[in-house]
Symmetry: C2
Subunit: 334 residues, 2 copies
């Protein structure tokens, strides 16, 4: 079932069939209707491999994300999918599970697939074979959540956001505020947030606590628990993401501590689920869906205009501090 079959059945040339589908305005309403009817009866669907091969355009955007288990990226992907669909693009999403070489593999697949543009969340934009490859081939790309001078990025001002939430905690009387993060080396996001934490603490003339680094998600509850039960435990935990905040709440509970009475816990990301949790998560909200939407817009507009996308296209989106129930004013346990 191909264009030739349809042409024969409709009694027209393949060129006319092609036009009826690709540029309907170049064909009489009558013949177009006829061809559509015939095509429908035959169940004809144009072969996109052939079309892509011929036109060198796929109307596909490649998407590289760390994981979909973290709802942040699932939400972002929903935003991407919706915006892409609106603009006539399909998406080809790949998850890397935080493996850097998977980023490069994904990009190779995208190149083979003739994607028109790529949207990525990478580990380290400063040093990325995947990005080098895209740049060398002049394939338009945008980074989401990452922030780097040399690349077009859509992100929030992490340092400012962290400063905001840390200042809020300080304003509520907290002094022993510890930060919880995954491996800092796994993402520039965690590093930025950590830097924000250090700066914020310094700006309030408070000594930062040692970073609570959680190398494996499985062990996180246990590790956080150890820090909550040590001598002079923190009265507040700033978690690098909401998933860690959820686990911190669990760890507190296991340690016999009440949240927020005994320990305040704040997150970062603003996953939608956080609003339905008990206690509601206090967190920095990033506009995750919007983030995806803006990336697609940048890509699609650049593609439409034929202008290459550069770092100048970068956008910083607004974040908000969502006050939930997982953080409260400091109360002296003594």
């Amino acid at each position: 079932m191909n264009i030739t079959d349809v042409a024969r059945a409709a009694g027209v040339s393949i060129a006319t069939v092609s036009r009826a589908f690709g540029s309907p305005e170049k064909v009489t309403d009558e013949t177009r209707a006829h061809i559509e009817a015939v095509a429908k009866k035959l169940g004809y669907i144009p072969n996109s491999s052939a079309r892509v091969l011929r036109t060198r355009r796929s109307n596909v955007l490649g998407v590289v994300l760390p994981t979909l288990i973290n709802p942040v990226f699932a939400e972002c992907l929903e935003g991407i999918a919706r915006a892409a669909h609106t603009r006539g693009y399909s998406i080809l999403p790949i998850t890397t599970d935080y493996q850097i070489d998977a980023e490069a593999r994904a990009v190779n697949l995208f190149i083979a697939s003739n994607v028109d543009g790529v949207l990525l969340v990478v580990s380290n934009p400063a040093q990325s074979a995947a990005l080098d490859n895209l740049k060398a081939r002049h394939i338009p790309y945008v980074l989401a959540y990452n922030a780097h001078d040399a690349h077009p990025c859509v992100s929030v001002d992490s340092e400012a956001a962290v400063a905001e939430v840390v200042s809020w905690l300080v304003g509520k009387g907290h002094r022993r505020i510890a930060m919880v993060a995954g491996h800092l080396s796994a993402s520039d996001r965690a590093q930025r947030r950590h830097r924000g934490y250090l700066k914020a603490m310094a700006s309030h003339d408070i000594a930062p606590c040692d970073l609570i680094e959680v190398p494996f998600m499985d062990a996180s509850v246990e590790i956080i628990g150890r820090h909550l039960t040590r001598e002079q435990p923190p009265s507040a935990l700033f978690c690098s993401n909401d998933l860690l905040a959820i686990r911190s709440i669990r760890a507190a509970h296991d340690a016999g501590l009440k949240v927020p009475e005994d320990v305040s816990i704040v997150g970062f990301d603003g996953i939608e689920l956080g609003m339905d949790l008990t206690p509601r998560l206090t967190t920095i909200v990033q506009p995750n869906r919007e983030m995806g939407r803006v990336c697609v817009t940048l890509l699609a507009d650049g593609l439409a205009a034929g202008t290459p996308l550069t770092q100048a296209a970068s956008r910083t989106l607004a974040h908000t501090l969502r006050l939930g129930e997982s953080a409260a004013p400091f109360t002296d346990p003594n």
Copy 2:
């Protein structure tokens, strides 16, 4: 940068380059190494549109899921992605947001893309244009989470699972057990679970409560709350999925009820997050990743064997009841 460039640079014919990539054994080790070196230097990546057009094989599996916001499907997709990668397939995932016509559109896209097989979670397998289309074109497909006689399906025994958790509640003294679900019409899963609930209640000679139907996720907390504060409120809530269970916990809290002391709440799905919540979710665990893996295996094996996939290939995977902290023995409030 195409096969011709590489051939020229390597001083061989394009056929030899093609073989060096596609069937290395048909080429001398020496020439293969030479071609690989040249190709690498040139950054050559074979154009898959051309390959697919020529071979009519894409090594791509289409995947249709309702949404990735529900972690059940995100987890399943992780299983799919991993298994697909292992077997040399890429995946092309599409989310429908529970819109039936989006299922059909996705399948059309898959056909245009020459996918080798399709994995779906549909709304209603009994009546699905998407499935009809796949069947008519002899494209191998498997359903996940759905269960239907006429299609190859990978699922758990929902009715048995629901019976298990309801019996557990009854065994703990609960009698007023209500079920919470989204629109029943939106998925056969919810319908099956509801049927399981009715049967289980009947088997214990307990009158079922009216179904608490939650049409929109946004309003769910409020709606569930109304049911918890009515005259003779249920002492236990069986939720059709974990996301609803989380919202039910929220609703209970808002109504001034303690979970599980005042009301027991159980879910269905076994999302990984449930284990880290406070209280830990009591729920029926489906092997979500495994589900994805099995689907891919079925598809890939069928493709390798060249045998069409039929309902005979269906698999029922084992579920488990995970006892968390959100459900406890019934205590009379008086």
